[in-house]
Every structure is written in C-alpha cells, then in structure tokens.
Symmetry: C2
Subunit: 125 residues, 2 copies
DNA sequence: TTGGATATACGAAATTCTTCGTATACATTT
DNA sequence: AAATGTATACGAAGAATTTCGTATATCCAA
C-alpha cells in the first residue's frame, strides 16, 4: 500500500496500466503518444521514477521490463475524489454529484444503477 | 471568460474569494493562514499573479487593493470536474457519481434532490 | 560478425509552481 | 515630525515536475 500521491503525468500512466494489465514501457508510451507529444525516454523516466516511489512494480527478468500498477484503481480514485471534492466543491460531494449528473449524458441503464444505489442507501440508513 | 486553469494554490484563494465577495489581500491571507503555514507576501504574490492571468480582478483605487474572483465558481467547477473525470475515472462520470454516492453520507434531503434530478433527466430524454 | 533497431540508466536542462526577502511608499500614532 | 505599522512591487531562490540527450548494453537480421 503506497502513500505517494501520483502526479498528473503519473496518473496518465497509471490509467494505462490499470486498463491493460502488465505491459512494457513501449506499450504505455505508444498509447501516451496518441494523447500528447512526448518522447520515449520521457515516458521511460517517468515509469522508472514511479517504480522508485512504489507506484508501480516491474519485472526486470528480461531485457524488456514489464510494468504493472502497484496501487489499486479504486483506492486511488477514492483518494483523489476526496481531495477533489474538498478542493473544488468545498467538501460537498452532493454538489459534485448533482453537477456531474446534470452535465453529462447518462444512459437509462446508468440512471437505473444510480437509482438502485440510492434505494440501497435509503434502506440501510 | 478566462481560459487559465487555476493551480492548486490559486484554487484555494478562489474558494475564499467566491465565499466572501470582494476583499483585501490581508483578509484572504488570514483565512489561508488558518489552513496552512504561509507568509503574507506569498499570498500577495499569488494574488498578483492571478490578477495578471485574469483569474481575479482588483480595484487599485485605494492603497489597499480589493480583489474579486474573475471566473465563476460554477464554470470553474465544471471545467475541473470534466478534467477530473477524464483524468481519474477514464471519462466515466457515472462511475464517479457511484463512488461519491457510495462513500459519503448523504442526507435524506440530498438523496431526494438527486432522485428528483434523475426524474427530470428521464423525462427530458 | 557487423550494423541497425531497441532496451535501460543516468544526469541534467527546462518548466512550472511556490515561497519569501527586501525595497519602498503611505498611514497612523505619539 | 519621527517612529511604527501596514501596503504593494519586484526579483529571485527553492521545490516539484517534466522533458530529453547521451551513453551503453542487448537483440536480431543480413
């Protein structure tokens, strides 16, 4: 369980690692490169730093190192969410929910899911 | 309409400006100082930079300058929210809503509000 | 086995953000 | 009027983050 909070660039890399299991640097870099102009060694360096920080683990058995996220997506998201709510919505999670709901097209299925969750919360409370 | 995205420190100041209308630097600083150790000239400098960037406006008629936020709270929150959803939840606003709902104690009133909003969305769609 | 492609390591420049010291001017009090 | 308090301006140090050049090793194909 790492305590380091990922920077913005590190988070971009974590996203890729979360989505596509253990992969080499080159793989991460190629996805990253479609999102923004960045050199290969930059990506490499970032991932090396992340390894030092304990944000990722890597298998260095072979010449091509294989990287995998060392922190869970859910836990990281929750941490960042808490911080974001505090920083941007002055601690009001509900205000955030309202804004997110109001400004994004949610499918019927998603709305149903949310309704179900609310139902569940109401029953528990 | 400013395009600058506020940094974290700038956001802290914007929050104070949003909450307490037009105020002098000293006022902002005193609130800030209750949240973290920071020198007065640091706060001043930040607010001067924000003025340059167009994030705040100031009235320099008198010796004590009076600052006010130049960008709206709602618009800024929406911008940051979009970015946050993209960056942390891979673009899934619903995933964020679910997580925010699941991990924060929402009052009955708040849940009712959300249900009403969902109702409204469903009717419009 | 030699040349080209591709890998990691490493150092350091470049950029952005944060912090604060110091200079200077105006206001207030004594 | 002098001393003291409080303002802004400004420059630049410090810290964190991002970027990439270069060195070097390994793999693979001709």
């Amino acid at each position: 369980m790492s305590n380091s909070k990922p920077t913005e660039s590190e988070l971009e890399i974590l996203q890729i690692l979360w989505e596509h299991g253990p992969v080499p640097v080159r793989f991460v870099h190629e996805i990253l490169a479609t999102q923004k102009a960045v050199g290969y060694t930059t990506t490499l360096k970032l991932m090396q730093i992340m390894a030092e920080k304990g944000l990722v683990n890597r298998d260095t058995t072979n010449r091509t190192h294989i990287y995998v996220a060392a922190i869970s997506e859910e836990q990281t998201q929750q941490q960042l969410l808490d911080k974001f709510v505090a920083g941007t919505f002055r601690g009001s999670a509900m205000k955030l929910v309202m804004q997110a709901l109001g400004n994004n097209t949610a499918s019927k299925e998603e709305l149903d899911q949310i309704k179900a969750l609310i139902q569940k919360i109401e029953n528990e409370g």
